[in-house]
């Protein structure tokens, strides 16, 4: 049976999005203004896709046993992650399964990330050199 990555749950609040905006330089208004997010048809402020990708990357790097182990990492953003203006915010749940270990020692992982039970990433794959 294929090896599973331990499931990790990440809490995401508005404060996290503000901090990520500052650290990444991505100040797109839909990540901090309900008014603007709703005006373009979103349910409200949504997380940066790159923030969700970073959380899933954390799960992979931790599982690989080294933060510098990731040699390839790609995702498709399929669904927004709405982040309500509450103390609880929302949760992103990340799991993964090992698909292949190559002859040259690379591990290929398929990642699943969900919010409110719905997949927010597709084709989410990482290749790591596991320690």
């Amino acid at each position: 049976m294929a090896e599973q990555l331990p499931t990790q749950t990440f809490r995401v609040t508005r404060a996290d999005l503000i901090r990520y905006a500052g650290a990444s330089g991505d100040f797109n208004t839909i990540h901090w203004s309900d008014r603007v997010a709703e005006s373009v048809g979103l349910p409200g402020v949504i997380a940066h896709g790159m923030y969700t990708m970073a959380l899933a990357g954390r799960a992979v790097a931790e599982w690989a046993g080294a933060p510098d182990a990731v040699v390839e990492y790609g995702v498709r953003f399929t669904r927004p992650v709405p982040v309500p203006d509450t103390d609880e915010g929302t949760e992103v749940v990340v799991s993964g399964v090992v698909k292949e270990v190559t002859d040259d020692g690379l591990t290929k992982i398929d990642i699943t990330a969900t919010c409110n039970g719905e997949k927010v990433l597709a084709l989410a794959r990482a290749t790591v050199r596991k320690r």
Binding site: G22, S39, M53, A54, A61, V71, R76
Partner: protein
């Protein structure tokens, strides 16, 4: 208005070097909640064979998003309406991790522009290398410009 298909296959001149700061890496790692010593602790990074702290896997987007934004997305000839843009796909292929002290230049290209179901899709590719020409990471980003009827 669809995106200008003549952008496909174009490449732009290498950007001015971006000097990767130790505190910037720590700030980014903290923002994504990553506590690994290699991202924060100089001694731990050196013990692992790096010259300085190591950046998390998605850190290069800090550099590439700004450079492709300036060179490609902001060009009025492309016809992009940034308010209608959402992130479609993102991919990184690393030759080695980014490390504080790296002086990185970006060469941006447009790999693909397509239209489907009233939406426009554009894939950019950014080759990130050191000023000396050592390849570090290749970054692909697909943006989706949603059709006008899609919101409101």
């Amino acid at each position: 208005m669809p995106l200008d298909p003549s952008f496909v296959g174009r490449s732009w001149p290498a950007t001015e070097p971006y000097l990767v700061g130790r505190e910037k890496i720590r700030e980014f790692a903290t923002a994504i909640g990553a506590t690994d010593a290699l991202y924060h602790d100089l001694e731990a990074a050196r013990a692992a064979g790096y010259s300085d702290v190591v950046a998390p896997p998605t850190f290069p987007v800090v550099i590439t998003m700004a450079s492709s934004g300036r060179q490609i997305l902001a060009d009025p000839e492309l016809g992009l309406d940034y308010r209608r843009v959402v992130h479609g796909d993102q991919k990184f292929a690393y030759t080695r991790p980014v490390v504080a002290g790296d002086s990185l230049v970006c060469v941006n290209s447009v790999d693909e522009i397509t239209s489907r179901g009233g939406h426009d899709f554009m894939t950019t590719r950014t080759e990130v290398s050191t000023e000396a020409g050592e390849p570090v990471v290749t970054v692909w980003s697909k943006l989706v410009q949603r059709g006008e009827e899609d919101h409101g």
